[in-house]
C-alpha cells in the first residue's frame, strides 16, 4: 500500500511540475534523456574523428545520421503510446511479411541477406524494425494478460519471439536475431515470469550449449569461442582482433595517450576501429577515466529509461520502456565486454559511439518510444 501511495504521489508531483513548468511535455520530449543522448552522440563523434584518422566526411555523415535519428525520435515521440499498443499486432504482422519478402527478394551485404531494396524507399533492414516491433507486440500481449504470465501465455510469447528470430537467422544475421530475441525476453522477464522458470531455462541453455557447439555451431562461431578462451592459439588470425584491442585498452592506462594520439588505432593495428572496436580507441586515448565517463553517461541514460519504465502509467508502457532500456544496456554491455575480452567476439556495435546507419536510426526510434511513454497519457492515469 505504501508503495502504491508512493507511486501515486511521485507520479502526481512529477506530472504537476512538468505541466506547470515546461513546454517539453507539450513537444513530447524528455529533457534528461535528450541531454544524455546528446552527450553520448557528442562524445561518440569526438572518438570517431580520432578513430577514423581525422576523416571529416566520415564524421559528418555520422553526425548527419544522428540528426536524422533525433528527428525520427522526435516524430516517434509525438505518437501516443496507445497508438503503438493498438497497432502492435499490425506492425508485427507487417514486419513478418517484410522478413518473408527479404527471403525472396532480399539483397545481400556483408554476408547477411537482410536488406530490402523496394522502389521509392531507401534500402533498409526489416530485421532492424523487429528490434522494437517484437517488444512492442510482447508488451501488447502480456499487458492485457494477468501477471505473472501463465504457462500458455509464455508458450505463445515464445512462438511470437522465435518466429521472427528464426526468419532472421535464415538471413544469416545471428547478431540481430540475438538482439530481437533478447528484446522479447526482457519483456517476459519484466512481466514477472517465475524465477524457477528463468533458472530452469538458464540451466537448460547451459546444458544445451555443448550440444550446440558440437553439432550446430558454424566454423567461425567455434573459432570465436575457442579464441575467447585463448586468443594466442592463432595470434595473427582469429585472435588478432582481440589481442590488438586488449593491447590498445591496456596501453591507454588510467589517463590515456590523449585524443588523436592512440598509436594502436592510428597505425591501423585495431581492426574495425570505427565500428565494433571503437571502445578500444576510446580506452587507448582517454584511458580508464574516459571509459568510466562513458559508462557514467550510459548509466545516466539507463537510469532515466528505468525511471520512465517505472513511472509509466500502464503495463504496456512499462514493459515497452523497460525492454527498450534493457536492450540498450545489453548492446552496451555485450560490446564493451567483447572488446575488453570478457565475452567472445560478437559483431555488435557500441550504441551511439560506433559508426553506423540503420542501426543508429533504430536506436533513436527506441528513444522516441521511451519519450512517448514518458510524455503521453499521464494525465489520464491520475
Amino acid at each position: 500500500m505504501n508503495n502504491q501511495d508512493f507511486i501515486r504521489q511521485s507520479d502526481g508531483l512529477d506530472s504537476k511540475s512538468r505541466y506547470n513548468k515546461s513546454i517539453w511535455h507539450t513537444i513530447h520530449t524528455d529533457p534528461p534523456l535528450l541531454i544524455g543522448i546528446t552527450l553520448l552522440c557528442g562524445f561518440g563523434l569526438l572518438v570517431l574523428f580520432s578513430a577514423s584518422g581525422g576523416d571529416v566526411p566520415v564524421v559528418r555523415r555520422q553526425a548527419l545520421t544522428m540528426v536524422v535519428g533525433l528527428v525520427v525520435m522526435f516524430i516517434v515521440a509525438q505518437f501516443n503510446v496507445h497508438f503503438f499498443r493498438q497497432w502492435a499486432p499490425t506492425l508485427y504482422a507487417a514486419g513478418l511479411g517484410l522478413l518473408g519478402l527479404v527471403l525472396v527478394i532480399g539483397v545481400e551485404a556483408n554476408g547477411a541477406k537482410s536488406w530490402l531494396d523496394l522502389p521509392g524507399l531507401p534500402s533498409f533492414q526489416p530485421s532492424e524494425l523487429m528490434k522494437f516491433v517484437v517488444p512492442m507486440l510482447m508488451a501488447w500481449y502480456l499487458a492485457s494478460r494477468p501477471l505473472p504470465p501463465r504457462f500458455k501465455h509464455l508458450f505463445w510469447s515464445a512462438v511470437m519471439i522465435l518466429v521472427p528470430a528464426a526468419l532472421i537467422i535464415i538471413q544469416n544475421d545471428t547478431g540481430t536475431a540475438i538482439m530481437v530475441t533478447m528484446s522479447g525476453i526482457f519483456v517476459v522477464l519484466l512481466a514477472g515470469i517465475r524465477w524457477r522458470i528463468v533458472i530452469a531455462g538458464f540451466i537448460a541453455l547451459l546444458l544445451a550449449s555443448p550440444a550446440w557447439f558440437i553439432f550446430l555451431a558454424q566454423e567461425h562461431q567455434k573459432n570465436r569461442i575457442l579464441t575467447f578462451f585463448n586468443p594466442y592459439r592463432d595470434p595473427t588470425g582469429a585472435g588478432y582482433n582481440i589481442i590488438q584491442s586488449q593491447i590498445a585498452i591496456g596501453s591507454g592506462g588510467v589517463y590515456g595517450k590523449g585524443w588523436g594520439e592512440g598509436a594502436q588505432s592510428h597505425l591501423d593495428f585495431i581492426p574495425e576501429s570505427n565500428t565494433d572496436f571503437i571502445l578500444a580507441v576510446l580506452a587507448e586515448e582517454f584511458g580508464l577515466l574516459g571509459v568510466l565517463f562513458l559508462i557514467a553517461l550510459y548509466l545516466f541514460v539507463l537510469a532515466r529509461g528505468c525511471y520512465i519504465a517505472f513511472s509509466a502509467n500502464d503495463m504496456f508502457g512499462r514493459l515497452l520502456a523497460g525492454s527498450i532500456t534493457l536492450t540498450f544496456f545489453f548492446y552496451v554491455f555485450v560490446n564493451m565486454a567483447m572488446v575488453s575480452g570478457l565475452l567472445p567476439v560478437i559483431g555488435l556495435p557500441l550504441p551511439l559511439m560506433s559508426r553506423g546507419g540503420t542501426s543508429v536510426v533504430t536506436l533513436f526510434i527506441g528513444f522516441g518510444l521511451l519519450m512517448s511513454v514518458q510524455t503521453h497519457g499521464r494525465g489520464r492515469s491520475v
Partner: protein
Amino acid sequence: MAGKWQLKDHEAEAQLFGRRLVVAGVLVVLLFVALIIKLFNLQVSQYDYFSARSDGNRLHSQYVPPARGLIFDNRGQLLADNQPIFNLTVVREQVGDLDETLDHLDSLIGLSSDEREQFNNRLRRNRVPFSSVPLRYVLSDEDKSKIAVNSHKLPGIAIEPQFVRQYPLADLAAHSVGYVSEINRAELDSLNEEERENYGGTNHIGKTGIERTYEDLLHGTVGYEIVEKNNRGQVMRRLDRTDPIAGKNISLYLDSQLQIVAEEALGNFRGAVVAIDPNTGGILAMVSKPGFDPNLFVTGISNKNYSVLVTDEINTPLFDRSTNPYPPGSTVKPFLGLGGLHHGLVDYEFTIEDPGYFRLPGVSYRWGDYTLRTAIGGGHGHTDLQKAIYQSCDTFFYDLGNRMGIDTMHGFMSQFGFGQNFAVDINYARTGVLPSRDWKRATRNEPWYPGDTINSSIGQGYMWATPLQLATAASIMANKGKVVQPRMLKAIDGEPYLPEISEPVADVVVNDPDYWRYIEESMSMVIHRAYNDVFREYGTAYEAIAMADREMPYRMAGKSGTAQVVGISQEIIKSDDIQVSDLNQDHGLFISYAPAENPNIKPQIAIAVFVENGEHGSSVAGPIAKTITDAYLLDILQIDFAALNSVDDELIALVDE
C-alpha cells in the same frame, strides 16, 4: 483466489514490475562493475605489459646501412659508383599467407619462378625477425605504382630505396676491381659477432678483386634508427637515429684510360695485360679478356645469365687470366741470362755454336729449338748471350740452364717474384710454379731429372707464371734490381696510402751493375735490332714493333715468349699434316718496359701481355704491348721525347764547351 485469475490486479502487477526492474537495475550495476574490474585489470594492473606490447607493435629498431666507399682510378674517374634503386621487400612475419601474397604480386608485376626461388633462398638465411627480405631488386616506376595502389591488400610488402654498386666501366675492369653481390650463408658465418652486427643492414659484400680485398675500408659502419611502423610494416615516423659511417673512398693506381686501351689492344683475343709503374709499383692496368658485366652480380644474377657465364668453356669470362699462371716461355730468358752473368757461367764474350738442338751428354734425346721449328732449319750458329736473347735462342739457354742447375736457377729467379706473390694487395693472385727439387718431391714425389732443368731453362716444363708475375719481374728488371712491390691502392679518402709491408722483398743485387745495362741492351735489341746482312741477327720483335713504327720516339726493352699449350702432345703440334685447331695454338707472351736506354728518364711502365692461343709472342703480343706503352708514355704522361733528348744534347754541348 482461483476466481481472481481473470481479473487484473494493477497494483500488484505494478509492484511485480517494479521489483523486476530493481533486480534488473542491480544486475546492470553488477555487470558494469565486472566490466570495470576487467578494464581496471587491463589498464592499471597490466598497464606496463600492454604499454610495452603497444610499443613493440609500432616501434622497430632497424639498421641503417652505411654508404659504400667509392672507387676511383688514379685520375679521379669513377670505377665503382653507388646508384639508388627501389627494392620490393617482404617482412615474412607480417605476411599472412605467403604463397597467396606472392601469387597476388605475380598477378600485379609478374614474378618469375627464378625470382621466387631466389627469394625463398634469402628467406631461409639466418635473419633477424621482422627484417625485410628483398623479393625483387630494381622496381620499375610502373611496378612501383601498381604495388603502391594495392598496398592495403599486401601487408608486409614494402618498397624500399637502396643504394647499390654500379660499375661504369662494366666488363672493362671486371676482374681487377671485382664486384659486390649478396652476402651468402658461408660469408655470414665467417664473420664474428661484431662484424655480423655491422652487416645487419647490408645486403652486399665484396666478392672479388678490390671490392673484396678492401671490403673493410669500403663497407663503413652500420647506423641504427628507431621507427614507428603501421600494421602493414610501413614506416610512419623516425624517432631516433644513429647515423652510419660511410665507407672510405679509395683511389687506385689503375688508369681507366689505359685499361680501355689495353682491353681494346687485345682485340678479339682471349688474354690478359698487366701494366705496372716500376717507380711506384702501382698497377696501371690489369685486364683479363673476355670480361663480364659485374653489374649483373650486384642485384642477384639470374640463373640464365649465370649459366651463360659459367658454361662458356672456351672464353671462361669469369676466369681471371691476369692472375692465373701459364708457361712463361722465352720471357724468362733475360732473367736467366742475368743469372748466368751473375754466377759467372757466361760473360760478354762467351759464345756457343748452335746446331739447332741441344743434347745432354750420354742422352740421345734432342731438345729442339722451338723458335726455329717453322723456319728454315739449322741453328743460330755463332751465338753470344745478347744474340741468344734478341734471337731467343733456345739452345744457348738449354746449355746455360744445364750448367746452372735447378738449385741456382730457383734461387736467382725467385728474386724476381717467380713462384711467389709479390703483390701487396692482390692476395687472390696465384703464385705459379718456380720448380725446385723440393717442389717436385713434395707435389709429385719424384726426383729432379737433368732434363727437367733443360725444359725450365726456356720457361716450359714445370715453370708457370701469371701475367702479373711477369709484369712484376719486368718492372724489377726496369728498376735495375730495385724491387717495388706491385699494388692497387693509391689513396684513401684522398690521403696517399703507404702500405706497411711486414716482410719487404729484398732488391736484386748482381756482381757487376753493368750486367743490367747489358741485359737492357739485349732486350732493347729484341725490338730495335733491324734486319741486316748477317743471318739471324735481328730482334724477334723488330718487324712487329720498331719496323712497323719507324717514328717511335723512345726505345723499348722487351722479350717475346711463345708457350706451348699444355696437354697436347709434341708430335701433334710439330706435325705438319695435322690441322691444328685454334685451341691448340701456342700462347703468345710479351714482356716489356719503356722508355729504355734513356739517360734522361727512368722506365715508366712495365708490361706483360698474354694472348691465349695467340701463336706468336713477338708478332701478336708484342704490338699489343707497344700500343699500351704508346698510350701511356705519349698520350697519358705526354712525355716529349724530342725535348728530353734535346736537353740531353744541350748538356753534351755544355760539357763539350
